[in-house]
Point group: C2
Chain length 165, copies 2
């Protein structure tokens, strides 16, 4: 079954009928950029009380500050004026359930593709990981220096955001 065909097409029609956000500007209203995990249990806007238009939301497996997340942050800051960054990891993350080496071996076995050059960024301690991600942002020469960077853990069991750094 295609969830897109069965539900999303219909849901979006209803959304568009009631749409009242045509006047939002391109630059985020709160000058905020967020790097968070792709996890389905975290709806970033809702958990943080953000409205559509408030923030750039960058998400990937783990909420990792990869080169691609840095690319997005650079564009966010230089072209669209954001001036505060939040990095959000969370409890019970899928990234805690495997090791890069295991996944590389499994992919090689299942697809025949050599994955020895790939990093999947699995980690074992969300607090330590979130500190390391904030450090990557602060260490980048392409990120503005006068910008606050917060590192947080979202608790999927309670909905609570915990400040780490």
């Amino acid at each position: 079954m295609s969830h897109y065909r069965e539900h999303i097409v219909h849901a979006n029609k209803q959304y568009a009928e009631k749409f009242d956000r045509s006047r939002l500007a391109m630059p985020p209203d709160k000058k905020l950029a967020i790097v968070a995990c792709m996890d389905a249990r975290l709806t970033v806007e809702e958990a943080l009380g953000l409205k559509t238009g408030d923030a750039h939301i960058i998400r990937n497996a783990g909420g990792v500050v990869t080169d691609d997340a840095l690319r997005s942050l650079i564009i966010s800051q230089r072209l669209l004026g954001t001036r505060e960054i939040l990095v959000i990891n969370h409890t019970d993350c899928g990234m805690l359930t495997f090791k890069d080496e295991e996944l590389r071996k499994r992919l090689k076995k299942e697809t025949g593709t050599d994955c020895s050059h790939l990093s999947f960024h699995a980690f074992s301690d969300p607090e330590e990981n979130v500190r390391a991600q904030v450090k990557k942002i602060k260490d980048s020469s392409l990120i503005l220096k006068d910008v606050a960077v917060h590192g947080l853990i979202y608790h999927v069991e309670s909905g609570r955001l915990q400040e780490v750094v």
Copy 2:
């Protein structure tokens, strides 16, 4: 002013007080993974009628299928069982407002850092771009072959989702 300090800490406390999602499982309920732009005007869950827990949401500048987006999709499929992919670009995207070469020159001038090796993935035609992103997913040997991949444009002026591929 820190938007995090002024608003988010308080908003999240209220969110956590009413929290009723502690039973959601780690794998996305709708077996869906979405790659979308980070744009502040697109609240993916709301525009698509998705609930917290339904889908992995991967976002970056442009909604580009970078190596990092592929990393996230591989983890989403192999470890967390998703079986349908949506790629969402949108009208009036910031990626239409610059060229990679301009941004590289500007960063070199403003920071002194050599950016000649960096791709920012600016593009000029969202429909063409979304087709190219879907192709990158379909061409990857590490992505499952029996999975539907849809390419869409979100219209920020109307809230409407347009099917491209």
